[in-house]
Symmetry: C2
Subunit: 449 residues, 2 copies
Amino acid sequence: MSTQNSNIPSSAGNSGKAPGEAVGIAILGHGTVGREVLRLMEEHRDALEHRIGGPIEVRGVAVSDKEKHRGSVPEELLTDDAMTLIQRDDIDLVVEVIGGIDYPRRLLLTALQAGKSVVTANKALVAAHADELAEAADRANVDLYFEAAVAAAIPVVGMLRRSLAGDQIELVSGIVNGTTNFILDAMDSTGASYDDMLKEAMALGYAEADPTADVEGHDAASKAAILASLAFHTRVNYDDVYCEGISHITAEDIAAAKAAGQTIKLLAICQRISDESGQEYVSARVHPTLISRDHPLASVDKSYNAVFVEAEAAGRLMFYGNGAGGDPTASAVLGDIVGAARNKVHGGRAPGENTYANLPVADFGQVPTRYHIDMEVVDKVGVLAELATFFAERGISLRTVRQEERGGHARLIVVTHTALEADLAQCVERLKESTSVKAVKSVLRLYSE
Amino acid sequence: MSTQNSNIPSSAGNSGKAPGEAVGIAILGHGTVGREVLRLMEEHRDALEHRIGGPIEVRGVAVSDKEKHRGSVPEELLTDDAMTLIQRDDIDLVVEVIGGIDYPRRLLLTALQAGKSVVTANKALVAAHADELAEAADRANVDLYFEAAVAAAIPVVGMLRRSLAGDQIELVSGIVNGTTNFILDAMDSTGASYDDMLKEAMALGYAEADPTADVEGHDAASKAAILASLAFHTRVNYDDVYCEGISHITAEDIAAAKAAGQTIKLLAICQRISDESGQEYVSARVHPTLISRDHPLASVDKSYNAVFVEAEAAGRLMFYGNGAGGDPTASAVLGDIVGAARNKVHGGRAPGENTYANLPVADFGQVPTRYHIDMEVVDKVGVLAELATFFAERGISLRTVRQEERGGHARLIVVTHTALEADLAQCVERLKESTSVKAVKSVLRLYSE
């Protein structure tokens, strides 16, 4: 076996502080989260210093426009030159709450190379560039913390990195985007359309003016990449995640789910799978999912988040809470600041990136899934037999078939047993081509553990 | 401010290992949990060593009767002399899964004094002697881990120690005993009596032959002491915890709760409270509690555990999973082994005991609670007015009063607003003395956040 940390020079990075010497902190960004972090650090300074075991001092707050923040940040801390701030000798710890990818990436790589530990809440950055950030942290023997990047104050990162470090994780599935959960929950409880509930979410501040990143699943896909990397000790990037949003979900889909004792949730699903030869893969995907109302994830309402974990020894665990918002995100950032500052004071490093397992990431087509297909078919004898052969030809067995008369044509709802995604998708294409099928109204995947 | 760790000699304890040198592990106990820990360590050795960053080796397994375990433990590891094993120079880490208090206390104090880090699953020991164990760990600059002592694989200890280290915790309430939750859940779903469902729990292996520690709340009280200590950075011992079990709960209580949209759970409640002068206290208590079926804790069924946390910035969080059993407990023990071994390899220490806040523990009488009182009263004019004065005299306001005729006498159910426990308890004594009250059938506290 080899270790990631074996070549670290002992002089660099987290080698401890002289008693009484403060840990110098730079905060990059002064938006909703940055302001709350600064406020809580002031209000609870004494408690935080006790928990850290030494003094801390905020020595700079970097913003893009100083005029805008004059008054809310002490003048002597305010700067618009983040790059100079993070390289100052009196800065030990850089907290990034700006957002975006390229600019914070340059800043954090520079900070890590200069021996500063980093705390970031930036899921897009971590999902896209965890590799080089982790490598820079390893080389400098400093910490890279990002609890706030996934599900805000729900401590999933710490749980995967530490608490379950002795277990083998089989599955991590979760509701990790508050906007889409709000919309789907509202559609479920009111029967309204997607468009109406998106407008409602915007009016209430749960969705942004451009909701694309949320409703098309991109935000959840970033989080799925991070969760899968941690759970399976394997690098999973944003581009490895299959991603499908909720904008095509109709009120009729929701009603049909309800009638069958189910609901539709946008789930991030990270799974360890094996093929017939026993080769192990990891899979990370985000898509709307039919889930039984009995499952703990089904009852997660409003904009709440929840992450469900199944591990070999621990069994089933669930974590639930506020997955977004200034205060919960600030709580996670502050927890990371305490951890990173402790290591600056006492020496030692947090468990870092560890992708030793290096499992292949499965193509989505190779992933076992289950389909719920709702179609309009011609109302004549022999249709069911014809369509059933499409499934049989691909080795897909059917779990339930339900046919409803609807004046002149029939509605056919098919639920399959588990099969490979590629076979199921091909089968749907074949159904669409058949003259016996008037329309494939909806195709939804079912949750299975 | 002062720190607990300021006088640690840098040479002692977790000062790092030479590359390739294994972390030597002694396991004390070879029951359900010990066997599973040993099995998982063998099965996942390669993965664990990658996560630790260096090799590990189990160098001894101590049992009370070697004959009993011959065959299931390699002969060269088996010993009945735990005291000698833990002091050997080739042991770095002692894992205690024996149970009991006095004997493991002596062993673990000796191990810590000898510079070994300790992982224990022993809630009774930690609840009773965390003080001296933590002090011994601090003096030797080694780690004391006990994730498995509370709610097994649900990582509440790590969450309170690390993830929420930057936040102020207001409340920790939880279902932390699987036996009592199984019994109450079974009473709720079947309408059966306590005695019948206790027998059922015994038959299914959810309750021990002597169920006292579970059903009288002692086990939950140990966990409440540990949770309150961690949440409020204040020493709370087992003896500080008010403790009331579930053996007096009747099928009628459960039925009445159900009719009111509630259920009864045995909750451990750890709360930060303030008196009128603004003085802060902590309170830790265990008692049967009426809780609305809408609350996430109400839907925790069977022998599952769940811990609910409310923090200033994070808001409401809930953690749910298997709170007992060999496998989930072993998962938590292994997570701790990885953490403690990492620090032996790389240097550094886990956040230890930190009771800097040192808040006073409130007398139970000073804690704000709410009562649900069910009584039989004489059916005559003026009774309600008479009884209402008992409450009014103590400044207790009533939220609802419900009266039911029952041929010759009346049933009166009173739900109070929040008042001090001592005033409520005195009021119940006064009711019992009144000639207008035939019997006080049940007194239950209501959950309020």
